[in-house]
Amino acid sequence: MRVLLAIAMLALAGCTAPYVQTAPPASPTTAPTGTTDGSGQGAVVGRSISTAGEALLEQSRRQRRAGEFAQASASVERAIRIEPDHPAVWLELGQLRFEQGDYAQAEQMGRKSMSLASQGSVAQSQAAQLIADAQRAGK
């Protein structure tokens, strides 16, 4: 059993890159990267996230989709250490906690993200959405 596990882990290790690769430019991002909402009011352009932060968030999303929540969490935390005052990293962790069913922490992460987001930015409305979802789900 342990041998099988070891083989499986080696195989896994073999097909992943030794370091974190740059996220493809087309990847969907939750980070505010200067988009406007098209409503004419024009959402405030938030500070864009670094390549490193975005790559780790992208890795985290990939792990989340694969159901590897613990790994996904570790990847976001790496992003948080690199860019702790960017709203996108806390939003990502909040969305992950939401998916894990931890609505209390999801809401807190949403609040943290909100406190870092510029007034009227996309990040702010995403954080507000997460807080609302978490409060509803947590009831």
Binding site: R2, L5, A6, M9, L10, A13, G14, T16, A17, P18, Y19, V20, Q21, T22, A23, S50, T51, A52, E54, A55, L56, A70, Q71, S73, A74, S75, E77, R78, I80, R81, I82, P84, D85, L93, Q105, Q108, M109, R111, K112, S115, L116, A117, S118, Q119
Partner: protein
């Protein structure tokens, strides 16, 4: 031992035979006892693996402030070997014109196994500009973390277990050649070697040759008893034979390699070649070069006598002797031996590079893990513990604290070397503890004041009072408060009349100034208005202890906390009102690398962000013009930091707690027996705080102003609105509905008043 228990039934009538039968029985019993003792020890030790504790892995990415020289230092600290050609061996690197190329080691992180991988790091000035391997570009790469210690049992033996397949062949050859030439043939003792030793010793009249086999040395190490009595020698020999009878040569050799005593580091005993390799060379055993392996083998004979740091000359001579013996035994070629003999001792410079063992931090790791793990699991199960420790920050904090304390000792001639101190540094937003110093003697696992010294916090409590005042909605930072005498009636019928430190009063002042300059009377007035119960609750919510007694004296800091608890409280402020439980450990994996436990980031909003933002502006002013202004000029001029001084009654405790955008730091100074220090928070702790912060290359505290606040220029003394050009003004973010008067003769023009004025006008007209 059934072999020695032969029964002799035919000898009843002869008494001397009975006597010898009895004697045999006694010997058999003794051997059985030895058998049980030594096999128990052997089997026990084989599985006794102290938990290994790792620092944070350094994350490299484009844009990271990291001059090439600093990365090189970090690599050397990790024991990476500088090479001239493109690095091929794991754990080697070279400087190139464009940057640094390295071949990483295989490392099992808690979330992935990374094979040895090449990495090229390019720089633009003092920043990393690009990470790549061949044509593949990477966004983030982490180096392997530094092994910073292990959780060993209370008897002080520390070791890093080496498996047989990790043992270099040359090491085995050298041990046999130097210590026990007939290891493969003998049965635990080597009569020929013994005889030779006796003859040599008789001739020279002193003990020169031991004649002990590796197995005998192993036994000797198990029971560490240096009396050289004949009886003990006999016991040792018997046990060696027993061990050989039970176990394979390869098992015994592996046990020897992991057991042998290799030196002392404070109260920690270095056992085995695995830990010795890390300790003396900061490098894994299988990466050692020939001259380094030979040095370790040379030390076996007497790690104190042949200590490379203290006795370099004779240690070098013995190392070269080992190399000659290796060549004589054809384990290496004469050319290889000669090349190795030409090398220096080449040990890791612990003085310059800083220790690689941090007992104060390990105590915190142990405390955090004690909630989930039994002590014996930590000391024996081979767990691997990943922490947030930043070795560079830790080394800086240790050095600055000892230098600062030594400096204060000199100023205070009579009290020689008694003033104690502690430092806690955490990462501002993730709540990770990255450095802990519990004493001036950082390499000694003594009383850890950072975790265990519970002391009155003095004015460090004041931010909680002001936070409550701001959250009450009745005050903003420019609101007036009287700094005038106040008498508080206590429940027991007494009255309490606090004083300012200076003994003076200041009339009507702003909250901003009252906090920045730490006025007691104004603070007590505010505190009595919001109520000590509320202040106690807030302090607890911020991370203080749960059982704070809400007496009025709490408002001036009559509450005891450890430096770690204070770091938790101030961390909540650094985080804009989100409490983040402090963690030393990120994750734990078992000996097979399977994740056992993670300690993820958790946060809880406990205060209104607008109130915290306002409060922190006052804490920034502490360092600009308040009680902490003496730190100006001792830190980078453009670094924005916030903090608070604290001094307890009769100068018994000197505190400074504060933060930047990146680091939260608490420094405490005092005497263990509570004698007055003669130091205020500013003259003592703050000086060390600033000296450490000055070296951290920390990012400024620069949060986004909350939407509910508006920036205004305000007169520092009166809190009236003023033009920026006026003397003594400060820019503050205040609640949009704050009502402020204008400073006579210096009031802001209508244009400057902007929206605020229009709003008021609208209101007045309607």
């Amino acid at each position: 031992m059934s072999r020695s228990r032969k029964r002799r039934r035919t000898v009843r009538r002869r008494p001397w035979l009975r006597l010898s039968a009895l004697l045999l029985l006694v010997i058999a019993g003794w051997l059985l006892y030895l058998d049980i003792t030594v096999t128990h020890k052997f089997d026990g030790r084989r599985w006794d693996l102290p938990a290994q504790v790792y620092s944070r892995p350094l994350e490299l990415y484009a844009g990271l402030q990291m001059p090439p020289a600093r990365l090189e230092r970090e690599l050397l600290r990790l024991g990476y070997r500088p090479v001239r050609q493109a690095p091929r061996q794991p754990g080697s690197f070279r400087r190139t014109r464009r940057g640094i190329e390295l071949m990483s080691r295989e490392f099992r992180f808690w979330d992935e196994l990374r094979p040895p991988s090449p990495l090229a790091i390019e720089f633009a000035g003092a920043k990393i500009s690009r990470l790549a391997s061949g044509s593949t570009q990477f966004a983030v790469a982490r180096l392997d973390p530094l092994l910073v210690g292990s959780i060993f049992p209370t008897h002080g033996e520390d070791r890093l277990i080496i498996a047989p397949d990790q043992t270099p062949d040359v090491l085995v050859a050298a041990l046999k050649a130097v210590e026990d030439r007939r290891f493969d043939e003998h049965h635990g003792v080597d009569p020929r070697a013994l005889l030779r030793a006796v003859i040599v010793n008789l001739r020279s009249g002193e003990l020169q040759q031991g004649g002990s086999t590796l197995t005998q040395q192993l036994v000797k190490n198990y029971f560490l008893d240096n009396r050289r009595t004949l009886w003990r020698k006999l016991r040792e020999a018997a046990m060696a034979i027993i061990l050989e009878w039970h176990y394979d040569k390869s098992d015994l050799l592996n046990a020897y390699i992991n057991e042998i005593y290799m030196g002392q580091d404070g109260d920690r005993a270095i056992h085995g070649f695995g830990l010795a390799s890390q300790f003396y060379f900061s490098r894994p055993l299988n990466e050692l070069e020939l001259h380094q392996l030979a040095l370790l083998v040379a030390m076996v004979k007497g790690p104190a006598y042949y200590n490379p740091d203290r006795h370099p000359q004779r240690t070098l001579e013995r190392r070269n002797l080992v190399l000659r013996v290796l060549a004589d035994n054809d384990a290496v070629t004469p050319a290889e031996a000669a090349a190795a003999q030409a090398r220096e001792l080449d040990t890791w410079d612990r003085q310059q590079g800083g220790a690689t063992y941090y007992p104060a931090f390990l105590q915190l790791v142990r405390a955090q893990l004690a909630e989930q793990y039994r002590d014996e699991d930590l000391t024996s199960q081979g767990l691997r513990v990943f922490t947030g420790l930043d070795p560079l920050v830790q080394v800086t904090a240790e050095a600055r604290l000892s230098a600062g304390l030594a400096n204060l000792d000199r100023q205070d001639g009579e009290a020689a070397d008694q003033l104690a101190g502690a430092v806690v540094i955490t990462s501002a937003q993730s709540g990770e503890v990255i450095a802990v110093v519990g004493d001036r003697q950082a390499d000694f696992a003594g009383f850890n004041r950072a975790l265990d010294a519970r002391r009155p916090i003095g004015s460090l409590v004041k931010p909680a009072v002001y936070l409550d005042a701001l959250q009450s909605g009745h005050y903003h930072l420019a609101s007036p408060v009287d700094d005038e005498p106040i008498t508080v009636a206590l429940d027991n019928g007494d009255t309490w009349s606090p004083q300012n430190y200076s003994g003076e009063t200041h009339g009507t002042v702003t909250l901003l100034r009252a906090l920045a300059e730490s006025f007691n009377l104004a603070t007590v007035r505010l505190g009595m208005a919001v109520g000590p119960v509320q202040v106690a609750d807030t302090l607890t919510a911020m991370g203080g202890p749960a059982d704070i007694r809400p007496y009025p004296s709490l408002l001036l800091g009559a509450v005891e906390m450890t430096p770690l608890e204070v770091a938790q409280v101030y961390g909540t402020l650094a985080n804009g009102g989100f409490r983040t439980p402090l963690r030393a450990v990120r994750s734990v994996v078992n000996a097979d690398g399977e994740p056992l436990q993670r300690f993820p980031i958790a946060i809880e909003q406990i205060a209104d962000p607008d109130a915290v933002y306002q409060l922190n502006q006052a804490l920034v002013q502490v360092l600009r013009r308040g009680t902490g202004r003496s730190a100006r000029g001792k830190m980078p001029a453009d670094l924005v930091a916030a903090g608070k001084t604290g001094t307890s009654d009769e100068y018994r405790d000197s505190w400074f707690a504060g933060f930047t955008g990146e680091h939260v730091m608490v420094v405490w100074l005092g005497y263990d027996d509570n004698r007055p220090t003669g130091l205020t928070g500013a003259t003592g702790a703050l000086q060390i705080w600033a000296a450490i912060m000055n070296e951290l290359d920390s990012a400024s505290y620069s949060p986004l102003p909350p939407a509910g606040l508006e920036n205004l220029w305000v007169d520092y003394e009166t809190g009236l609105m003023a033009r920026p050009a006026c003397a003594d003004v400060v820019e503050l973010a205040l609640p949009a509905d704050a009502r402020l008067g204008s400073k006579p003769g210096c009031g802001p023009g209508l244009r400057m008043l902007g929206r605020r004025a229009r709003d008021w006008l609208d209101e007045a007209l309607n």
